[in-house]
Symmetry: C2
């Protein structure tokens, strides 16, 4: 392992970025000066940013750095897709403590690059500095807007509410990883001299683990919507849980909604894991967070087009504001939807 | 004091940003959706980002949060100015621990807004989350490029090397603040029951304190250069010390340089403080860091124009690469310039 102090800030940055060459015609200059230079030639651009803190957003006990790099990029791409745009550039800032090596940073950058290659995104700059404690990551993504960026505020009564993929899996993956971590620490505590490798029990649960560690932003859904000629009236990505995001759309659109428990898309592994943990899977489909799926509304006339696309589920419809935001349960009860999603600044105890 | 947990993430963001309205015509949508939407109408844009970590980049013992907000914005504007551009938008991400109150965040945002108002910059988005330990701040600034962004690589032999303002003051301010902090802690230790207010000795040293706590990015110099019709061949802002930045220009321009110790612009208070500390002021003018002045090169034919502008000092000239980078001392000795600037990832012991 190579200590980062051997290279210093500029040496480390050179080492990690010397092979990075801009691919997009919008990227006039990338890494290497005070700023990157971009030219979007009269098209609108999108800007989003996310900060990830060790111990709050990720746990390096079970999150490999390559996955962390991948996920850090994807969560930002997800915001660009949620406006109907395509990501083109990112800046990456990191603060790292002395316990990280040059090889660790190579792993992180490999994951970051993999995500960027998947969507043709250029890494155009950033900042690398030291932290006295945990790792901090901040990514800003810039993308090309579609002719009309899809905002949160455009939903109309009678619009269908659609969700891509399935919900709650990433959160169930997190629960599983936390459970196995606890088992591992207990085993270490009980038998401090047992040097045998710990084998976590992940068999048959690979999907929910992958949803937590290596989420995919749904640019493919944007491409399919464009190909089918569907223009969502409102869209948001699901990072804090379906309930929270649905309330954002309803609040900003001055609408209400009715969604149906039986229509919520839930993967088999998610349901099994919830069962194992004695938890209600619907709660986690609504509030789990980190799904990075797209939630959007379309005019009711687009119903058949939506049905023609694989991987999109209609879960309900938009109502007038006065009817509030309601979940219709399997046994036909109505519950008001509340945001119980992940909220790092809210006291939970 | 209001606990942040009472508001939660979205409540805090709403509270801090509800009065923020975009002022620039390039800002189509600001805060409130998955992304901001910008339109630069066929003009090039500049992107830069900086991360500031508590305990590494700032010490809240003596750095008021309002100043920290101001400085966080200014250090990013400085990078935009260093390309000859004008800042237009920023995103602000922060991670904060439970010891901060809503009022603390208001102070930080007040400073941030003050800096933005000074240069007509819109706050267009960000992320606010929790930290288990210290505060982390990440700002990305976007700006409008001039017709030809001024890169680091354009310096040519015989070009004059120019510096705005004066050097070493911010570092001397830091030394003074650190000294008074040590005195304060010693006093607390010696007399734990002495409740009298500690009065740091800052009289006659206000300038160096302000240079550390409230730096000004030199957009005024860009305006003056434009007004005088001067097009620098290369430019960089001085954040890590003159030596380090000069070497960036020379390396990227494949040039050498000769600068003169007697021409280095040093304020009286900086010199006095260095004297008090028994330190060589030239060392700090070369390597102090956080000056946020502009270092640039101009064709020798612009000499008279440069002399007509207040607050710009010519410190030497660019040479062919084979002559290396040399400092000519007051007693006419030559020393090779080395980057000894602040480098947070380099082992200093």
């Amino acid at each position: 392992m190579t200590e980062i102090s051997k290279l210093g800030e500029f040496g480390l940055i050179n080492h990690l970025t010397s092979d990075i060459k801009p691919k997009n015609k919008e990227t006039i200059c990338g890494i290497g000066d005070d700023c990157a230079v971009l030219n979007y030639q009269n098209r609108q651009l999108l800007v989003t940013t996310d900060m990830l803190m060790e111990g709050v957003h990720f746990d390096l006990t079970y999150m490999p750095l390559k996955h962390l790099g991948y996920k850090s990029a994807m969560v930002n791409f997800s915001d660009i897709f949620a406006m109907g745009g395509m990501p083109k550039q990112i800046t990456i800032s990191m603060a790292i403590s002395k316990r990280f090596s040059v090889e660790d940073m190579e792993d992180f950058y490999a994951g970051l690059q993999l995500a960027c290659d998947k969507w043709g995104v250029d890494i155009i700059g950033g900042d690398t500095t030291s932290s006295l404690t945990g790792m901090a990551i901040s990514i800003t993504a810039i993308g090309e807007a579609s002719d009309t960026p899809i905002l949160r505020k455009g939903a109309q009564p009678t619009n269908l509410i659609c969700v891509s993929g399935d919900l709650g899996a990433a959160y169930m993956g997190l629960q599983l990883l936390e459970r196995e971590k606890a088992v591992y620490y207990q085993q270490l505590k009980d038998n401090p001299n047992d040097k045998s490798d710990f084998q976590p029990e992940f068999a048959g649960k690979e999907y929910i683990i992958e949803r937590q560690l290596k989420p995919e932003a749904r640019g493919d859904i944007i491409a399919k919507l464009n190909a089918t000629g569907i223009h969502p009236t409102a869209m948001i990505d699901i990072s804090d849980g379906l309930s929270s995001e649905l309330l954002h759309i309803c609040t900003q659109s001055h609408c209400g909604c009715r969604i149906y428990e039986k229509e919520l898309p839930i993967d088999y592994q998610t349901a099994v894991m919830a069962e194992e943990l004695g938890m209600n899977v619907t709660t986690f489909a609504l509030n789990g967070g980190e799904d990075y799926e797209l939630l959007f509304t379309v005019p009711i006339g687009d119903k058949e087009k939506i049905e023609s696309i694989d991987g999109i589920q209609m879960i309900g419809y938009i109502t007038e504001e006065k009817y509030g935001c309601q979940l219709i349960t399997r046994d036909n009860n109505e519950f008001e939807i509340k945001a119980q999603g992940w909220n790092p600044l809210k006291e939970t105890k």
